[in-house]
Symmetry: C2
Subunit: 165 residues, 2 copies
DNA sequence: CCCCCTAATGATAATAATTCTCATTATCAT
DNA sequence: ATGATAATGAGAATTATTATCATTAGGGGG
């Protein structure tokens, strides 16, 4: 009850799920960051608060929250999934991602979301009707090279870098 | 030389890469499908053509093509990556994806891409300028429940389905 | 406030996708 | 054709994620 997030608390209770320490801690961690944490990142943060909580519980909780639609699971191209609390649970606006394919840096952006939002809404409605989907969420990722990696590329390798195997 | 895809051929040669049998076969497979093949799917198709080609080569080739920007690697939420030849190498139009989070069905859609294209282009330019990224590609995914899974949900479980662990 | 039922957990084994190693082969510039 | 070496095949190794199962703790009922 004295825990951080009344919104999240409500959602759990509404589904008949228990408010456990692990869930409280993980939700708190997610609601305090704008980084894109992997299960491992989260595990170590959780351990810093309560070292008795296990890795499996972190995975289970993230999976649960994802299935409930409170958390979005991302793959940015390195081998591990990343997790982010969804709009509504965080104060900051809905955003999309800019991913550097070389150094894996991820930039959140909220610019143009007004226009985007409108188009997304429209597209969503049309797709829902045409394909009879009940659309719950979406992701938009742009991939490219960040400034640093661009100049590195330019200096060391004018074309595409070391591609051979 | 007498292989299928002059466009792809050129890109490889331009990078000083060899045109090997495995690469030819894999490019051919990718250019003939609109499905979203996993590495394993591709491996078995490759084996049907030349059984001496190994799994590692399939992975290596897909990774190479992805790094070259000829192939896009996707994660639709099941544990495995899926690969698709990028616009330019295929005749059919650029498309985005509609993913059923329950049965994992994937629908390509090309509707609204005109409007989308314009917005994407605009966003891309602005992001490139603001964050100094060299943007190479993007993905848009919508997630939700397909018709079949929606009605199943309705019949068996009015709210969110079995969420507990 | 204590008790009980059972959802949830911790520890660890198991699984599965992807990557690495290294001896061998095949591509292609010459 | 020939040689330098990029690319490969086979399988071992790695790593993220999931399953198992005995134990613990959340929370409704007394």
């Amino acid at each position: 009850m004295r825990c951080g997030n009344p919104w999240a608390h409500q959602r759990l209770v509404a589904e008949g799920l228990r408010i456990t320490e692990a869930r409280r801690i993980i939700l708190n961690i997610l609601s305090k960051t704008s980084k894109h944490l992997s299960a491992e990142d989260i595990y170590f943060l959780v351990r810093g608060i309560n070292p008795s909580i296990g890795f499996a519980t972190v995975y289970r909780t993230l999976d649960l929250l994802t299935r409930m639609g409170m958390v979005q699971k991302f793959d940015f191209g390195d081998g591990k999934a990343r997790y982010e609390l969804i709009e509504g649970s965080r104060k900051d606006a809905h955003h999309h991602h800019l991913v550097c394919t070389k150094c894996r840096k991820i930039v959140n952006y909220t610019d143009f979301v007004d226009e985007e939002k409108e188009l997304i809404k429209k597209t969503e409605d049309a797709l829902a009707k045409k394909h009879r989907f009940d659309i719950k969420s979406h992701i938009i990722h742009f991939y490219g090279l960040c400034e640093t990696c661009r100049s590195e590329d330019k200096n060391h390798n004018p074309s595409l870098g070391k591609l051979s195997m």
